[in-house]
Amino acid sequence: MDGLHLELLPPLLKGFKTTLMLTALSIVAALVFAMLAGLARMSLRVWFRWPAAAYVEVFRGTSLLVQLFWIYFALPMLLDIQLSAMTAAVLALSLNYGAYGSEVVRSSIAAVPKGQTEAAIALNMTPSQRLRSIILPQAWRMMLPGFGNLQIELLKGTSLVYLITLADVTYQAMMLRTYDLSSTAAIFVWLLVLYFAAASVLTWLVRFAERRAAAGRS
């Protein structure tokens, strides 16, 4: 079919694979940063709490794109190292959304009723047992909606890697456009549809996780 411009899809899908891989890697890394920073900010020890607070405020107070440029262009000059565009992209995306995610972790843990901690202490659990088997399973349920929103933001954020010339789906679309200016509109419609499809799948996955986490509870 000519009207649908299906011939545009194969090159776009090639870039889409990179976008999806970048999204998946960054989500996993962001989750780790969010957990570490969120827990560290609730620590009683100042040398955990303060560096975590500084990390969160710096990454939430500046722009994702500025961070991406800083990590890709400035950091290698500063440390005299080589950094691939993919590594820089995963680092920037995961550090940025990890900072936002740490707030989700913090507020969810704070929302677990105090009686739960007290009961765990009364049962003579160690602090790590308390966290692992009592607090986190209950907090996890409350984290999911917040994480779900951040995942969509992260997916949208991956489009910025085009600006450090990583061949994601936006990059492929811009390349296609330079070959064939007349199908500009079709290229961008397909591009938007692909992002929307990916976002819908992520939303669906989070709903599934929410249902599973809620199973057996009221």
Binding site: E57, V58, R60, G61, T62, S63, L64, L65, V66, Q67, F69, W70, F73, A74, M77, L78, I152, K156, G157, T158, S159, L160, Y162, L163, T170, A173, M174, R177, L181, T184, A185, F188, L191, L192, Y195, F196, A199, S200, T203
Partner: protein, 224 residues
């Protein structure tokens, strides 16, 4: 590695770019505030022919990247519709449309927080639809959302570097031009980061203060 003379050299140029970034954020925010309310109201409409398409369009805009939407505004609009915008106003339009979908959710939460009794009282007083919204619902639903709106203004300010992709010469673009001329990116990009931090962090603290003050006032009203 870090050269202070170079910092002195590029700092004036960076400071000159601040009004562009702040201006784009403020203009985009104004547009988002104006567009957000009709979107929220349309999504609440009982007429499915109005609510369903608006909801679908808003979800679509919200789930796709601002960067791609900006490209649509500067590449597709002139070619397919003959509408030509300057990069700055395309950026403002893109920011405004993108964030109007977020602000419509803010309006929605404010509207839903108005107690049911208020609606019932409006009916009991024989208020029409227009009068109910204008005199009862909106005056109670918008003020509590002001801190959240303030946070979105800050978020939009931090999104302005994305406009560099459509050649708006804001902070990041200025730094990139300065950096590529001398091949010194460390100072340029670090300064941009610092400027963003120095402008957005105090603003975020102000919003937090406003939020706390409003909560305290709310507490007084309900305890009376």
């Amino acid at each position: 590695m870090w050269k202070w003379e170079y910092v002195e050299k590029i700092m004036p140029k960076l400071l000159e770019a601040i009004p562009v970034a702040v201006g784009a954020a403020l203009a985009g925010f104004t547009l988002a505030v104006l567009l957000g309310l009709p979107i929220a109201l349309a999504r609440r409409s009982r007429n499915r022919w109005l609510s369903a398409p608006v909801a679908a369009a808003a979800e679509f805009v919200r789930s796709t990247p601002l960067l791609v939407q900006l490209f649509v505004l500067v590449f597709v609009l002139p070619q397919s519709f003959g509408i030509r915008l300057s990069p700055f106003w395309a950026g403002v339009l893109g920011l405004g449309i993108h964030y109007s979908t977020y602000l419509s959710e803010v309006y929605r939460s404010g509207i839903e927080a108005v107690p049911k009794g208020q609606w019932e009282a409006a009916i009991a007083l024989n208020f029409g639809k227009w009068r109910t919204w204008r005199r009862i619902v909106l005056p109670q639903s918008v003020p509590p959302t002001l801190p959240v709106m303030g946070n979105y203004l800050i978020t939009m300010f931090k999104e302005t570097p994305t406009l560099s992709a459509i050649t708006v010469v804001e902070l990041l673009m200025t730094a990139k031009i300065a950096g590529s001329a001398s091949f010194r990116y460390v100072e340029a990009f670090t300064l941009v980061g610092l400027i963003f931090l120095l402008l957005s962090y105090p603003s975020a603290l102000l919003v937090r203060l406003l939020e706390q003050r409003m909560q305290r006032r709310e507490g007084r009203v309900t305890s009376r």
